[in-house]
Amino acid sequence: MTPADTLRFASRAAAAYPLRTALMVLAMSIGVAAVVVLTALGDGARRYVVDEFASLGANLIIVLPGRTETGGVNPGSFITGTPRDLTVADAAALTRAPLVHRVAPLSVGNSEIAVGGKLREVMVLGTTSDYAGIRLLDLNQGRFLPPEADKQASAVAVIGSLIRKELFGSEPAVGRMIRVGDRRLRVIGVLAPAAKGLGMSHDELVIVPVATAQAMFNTNTLFRIMAEASSREALIPAQRQIEQILQARRDGELDVTLITQDAILGTFDRILGALTLAVAGIAGISLAVAGILVMNVMLVAVTQRTGEIGLLKALGANTTDIRNAFIVEALLLSLAGAAAGYGLGQAGAWVIRLLWPVLPAWPPDWAVIAGVGTALATGLVFGVMPARRAARLDPVQALSRRGG
């Protein structure tokens, strides 16, 4: 029997029982579609988080005051109880690290902003001119904080796009005076909208020189320091240099925490990647169930067609011919199921993307390949046993059955 004949014979057999074939294909396609849709969801969530972090800016090292790690007892523990604050001088010192490209101190506080008769709560961020470069901020109008304002409490401000919209409406904002807390500041720039990062939106921010913010909130400590390494490869060595500089400035005690965006990103990437795999595994169970269904259906087919198998044997079919015909039939059912499931899954992912546009719910390539591959493999594996049973049938007994 030639392969073409085997294929034709098997497809005719599959087509001869349309209800059985349709149900089988449906079961298999649900399994494959489940894998495709669930991994699309999982991978979409992973991509969403990764994109959020990536918008923080590249090669970023964030310095937080205080040691959040449990490092056991060290000599420093007995000397000081509370961590030292981060200061503008610390930030300035970090610029001496060779692998650190830019540094921006961050001082944060809540205040009120007033223009004309309008008043609203606002978050004030005190920083330096390098912040725009580190956080990849674009300006719609005007300019960002000038470098000459880094050291002095200039009365200038850069406002977020939403603040501009709410307070100025359609009027021009650059050059206007605003009151923030008890200070009068001149607006020198407006940020472009949609500059976001981890829920803290720049759209609702007022950015002022760090000295201005510290004077406004009557403090000389920093919320944190953001440093940018000169390259991605320099991230780890730059981190060590920052630690050395800060340790030297703190009598040998390192009471700061350094977070790299890479580390956060890597962790989330791993957690959500594992989640996607787990979800794919659960969906895979439905594929295994579909595989057992293939076996069941093929076993019924063998019983149903016992007479036909006996006849084929009498006409000179050898065991290979009969085994192949049944395996190919099982494979065809799985293949149709896999194709239908792939289409169904892609449609499902499309619907998810329609309903939640922020979620990039595209099924990952590996999941599609694994889903369709598993469907075919289960069809093959679970098709072998019924096919062998068919091939082993005794022709005399098979022929004596009615039907077929």
Binding site: A13, G307, L311, L315, N318, P395, V396
Partner: protein, 231 residues
Amino acid sequence: MAQIELAGIERTFTLGDSRVHALRNIELAVSAGEYLAIMGPSGSGKSTLLNLLGLLDRPDAGHYRLEGRDVTALSGDEQAAVRRDRIGFVFQSFHLVPRLSAAENIALPLMLSGMPPAERDARVARALHDFGLESRARHRPEELSGGQRQRVAIARATIMQPAMLLADEPTGNLDRHTGQEVTELLEALNAGGTTLIVVTHDPAMGARANRRLMMEDGAIVDDVPASDPTR
């Protein structure tokens, strides 16, 4: 040399804990082109003998030589090849594949032999013509009459031009008139040189054969040429 030679054939079945001796010490020689009827009561071993001749069953003891070759020792797949090339079967219940058309049913042995489709189609077209089935070629078995079904089955059995035709009650499911036609068709094939071995209950059909084997309890009790004047 005889086409078929059976020597010392024994076949027993185990049914529950009792053993049934289906064939006892069968000795038989059939020459090419003979027309043989195997007759006897139910359970006498006729069908078992036919299955054995058709290589669908193996004897427990003895030897079966087909065209000078001992076929009892062949493997299952080698026997399948012999069945395909040398033996044609006609069954009482026709045994047509219900989802295939008449032409496709006839083409089955050719397909199993791996013949290219073009050559296959030509042979099937000739067979359809020879058996008067041209207008029924694309019909499925359920759309055919009993006589037409058996003609399709005979066309399928002879498409490989086998050395012998084995027919198990070929007219058992047909009315008298159609049965007569089918019998004549088989006899015409026999006249063309094909050995014809028919298992039948029907004495009228048995009487038409050139040679009759009477079986009882798994043994051949009588072997008579039809022309024997003493019967």
